[in-house]
């Protein structure tokens, strides 16, 4: 089962940009941007994140989610709260720096890493010594 990424940012442009950047080194990885609110403001959208996760799961992917700031993380955690325990084995939050984390996670997914490996790469701890 391949791992897909959902990039959650307060800014739609930032989410799209991170997807663009990460895709450069991970051509076969499904990358979804979930940026901005439903009406195009700065913020995050429960429904955008939830829809991306639902679609990727329906397509058979495991899903790693990355965020830009604390309130985006709270939105993601709210989405995860609504999933049952079995789904939580397949959908995980990767708590790292968004740009480096997304690139590291996407490359790990590209070379066939499983969900835990992708989530660990997204945390990108090694980048900070």
């Amino acid at each position: 089962m391949s791992v897909a990424l959902v990039i959650v940012s307060h800014s739609a442009q930032l989410a799209d940009g991170v997807v663009e950047l990460a895709a450069q080194m991970a051509r076969n990885v499904e990358l979804r941007a979930a940026g901005g609110t439903d009406d195009g403001r700065i913020g995050t959208s429960f429904d955008k994140v939830n829809d991306a996760v639902t679609e990727l799961r329906a397509a058979g992917h495991d899903v790693a989610i990355l965020t830009d700031l604390g309130s985006a993380t709270m939105t993601v955690e709210s989405v995860l709260d609504f999933l049952d325990e079995e789904e939580l084995e397949h959908v995980k939050f990767s708590d790292g720096p968004l740009v480096e984390g997304a690139v590291a996670a996407a490359v790990t997914a590209q070379v066939g890493g499983d969900l835990d490996a992708v989530v660990a790469a997204g945390r990108a701890r090694e980048l900070f010594g």
Partner: protein
């Protein structure tokens, strides 16, 4: 004034909260501009207007009202207040069954605080809405334990929340984006503590009118 609060109270509470948050939209934006991203008033106003729209046809019971508030705020608000208040109302809904007596009022405030702490991982003294919800719970509990009514419990909660909000002014923020300001966050009221106070005041006002 009735001793137990029904769905009519819950609807009046939420409509009252919407009105008072709309009135205080610019105040909340200004507070948030000082130590955050400046959109708390706008976000709460937008969220509560959507909630009131969803509740136009009423609801079956108090729990039903709280659930609509939770899911709508979570979807519509966009800022940190969405998941925080969304989770607060969701836990409050889960803690509610039937009409609300004084113990029920405590359960609502306790559920809300528990949800906010679970979501935001903040504790008291960090210059967040927890600094209003936590004393509010203590005050509501004291009223219920001494045999007071639900309306009295909500009034005590609102007054304690207001005091808690005042007490955030000198604090240095250690959660959220306000924490990036370090010492410069001191001297400003936390906007979430004010929206919390307004929401609890609306609950008390509606309870006293029920």
């Amino acid at each position: 004034m009735s001793d137990t609060l029904s769905v009519a109270w819950a609807l009046a509470w939420i409509r009252g909260a919407q009105a008072v948050l709309a009135e205080n939209r610019e105040t909340l934006n200004d507070l948030d501009r000082a130590i955050g991203d400046g959109d708390h008033g706008e976000n709460m106003d937008r969220g509560m207007k959507a909630v009131v729209g969803k509740l136009a046809d009423g609801a079956e019971d108090v729990q039903g009202v709280l659930k609509v508030v939770a899911s709508t705020l979570m979807s519509v608000v966009g800022g940190a207040a969405g998941p925080l208040y969304g989770t607060a109302f969701l836990r409050a809904a889960k803690a509610t069954e039937g009409d609300v007596d004084a113990d029920g009022a405590v359960a609502i405030v306790a559920g809300a605080l528990e949800g906010i702490v679970a979501r935001g991982k903040a504790t008291t003294g960090e210059k967040t809405m927890v600094d209003s919800w936590s004393p509010a719970l203590d005050a509501a509990k004291a009223v219920a334990e001494s045999g007071g009514t639900a309306a009295e419990a909500f009034r005590a909660a609102a007054e304690a929340a207001s005091k808690g909000s005042d007490d955030t002014i000198p604090l240095r923020a250690s959660k959220g984006r306000a924490s990036y300001l370090g010492e410069r966050s001191m001297g400003h009221r936390d906007p979430g503590s004010l929206s919390t106070t307004l929401i609890l005041k609306a609950a008390a006002d509606a309870a006293e009118a029920a």
